[in-house]
């Protein structure tokens, strides 16, 4: 017990990623806490960029890290931890978008439109700048498969190659989606 206790560090601020993963696999709460601290902003950008700044986004964010914790034994370290986390975040967010679409498709078109309005206005306008409002409205009006590309590119600052790696898509597909997303974004922004 005393040996185990001495292995648990109080602070992991300077610790490398692979050590954090190893310590988390040993059940070290502080090590996993450090992973959450390091990547929560990145996950927030992906989840909130795609879902809007709603309370659901925070729940999905929590789910991302819970999924990460349980899938850590499968993480072989071939990709960066950030890429691995991004994949989980993108998959969970896309699932949530599908789930919402399915749920609201049960209701009338009117209800569907109301849901979209709620999504768009589901953030605190007072705290948001004009720029933030434009970006959020434009992103939420986009097709989800384009929304994810734009989020990775514009909010996360990933290159086309990195985006392709995260989304597990061929580079050509990402490039074509990027150009179609740009067209869609242009037409949305003209209306705003």
């Amino acid at each position: 017990m005393s040996i185990y206790c001495s292995m648990i560090k109080e602070s992991y601020k300077e610790t490398e990623e692979n050590e954090l993963v190893k310590a988390s696999l040993n059940g070290d709460k502080n090590a996993f806490g450090e992973i959450v601290t390091r990547y929560q902003k990145m996950v927030a950008r992906t989840v909130k960029g795609m879902l809007g700044d709603s309370v659901f986004a925070e729940d999905i964010g929590q789910e991302v890290f819970i999924n990460l914790y349980y899938s850590l034994p499968e993480f072989r370290g071939e990709a960066k931890l950030s890429t691995y986390i991004q994949r989980i975040a993108v998959n969970l967010t896309l699932n949530e978008i599908k789930r919402r679409k399915r749920f609201f498709s049960l209701f009338s078109q009117k209800a569907n439109n109301e849901m979209h309005e709620v999504e768009i206005g589901d953030y605190d306008n007072e705290k948001r700048t004009e720029a933030a409002e434009i970006v959020n409205k434009a992103l939420l009006a986009m097709d989800p498969k384009f929304r994810v590309i734009v989020t990775m590119r514009m909010l996360q600052g990933y290159s086309t190659k990195e985006t392709a790696e995260i989304l597990d898509l061929p580079l050509g597909t990402v490039l074509s989606r990027l150009s179609r997303a740009q067209k869609q974004l242009k037409s949305i922004l003209e209306k705003l």
Binding site: Q40, D53, A132
Partner: protein
């Protein structure tokens, strides 16, 4: 930055040769930043590690139930064995009638016993 400039910047960020890191940095300067609530980490850790405690408790409960079941079952088997031995000693056999305590009785005596005549 006015709204027109912002829109232009957003659209140009999707060009394949765009300075994406610069763009995302500028967007952040314009207030486009996302974050979770200040106690997000604690919420995640609570969910993860309190769930572990619940699972442990469930496992422990099942263990206790199994232990209790084995003890009750063994006690029951021991009682049945003692009962069989005592029946054999008193009745001299382990027939169905001796189990029911009817080995020494004839049908007529049972009718007498039940009717009182």
């Amino acid at each position: 930055m006015n709204s027109l400039e912002i829109k232009k910047m957003i659209i140009s960020s999707l060009n394949s040769d765009a300075d994406i890191i610069g763009t995302s940095g500028r967007l952040e300067e314009e207030g486009i930043s996302y974050n979770f609530s200040h106690n997000f980490k604690d919420k995640v850790l609570d969910k993860l590690f309190s769930a572990g405690v619940t699972i442990n408790r469930e496992v422990e409960f099942i263990k206790y139930m199994n232990f209790a079941f084995i003890r009750i079952a063994l006690t029951g088997v021991a009682a049945i064995v003692v009962l069989l031995i005592s029946i054999f000693l008193v009745q001299g056999s382990l027939s169905f009638n001796s189990f029911l305590g009817l080995s020494d009785n004839y049908d007529e005596s049972i009718v007498c016993l039940l009717t009182g005549n």
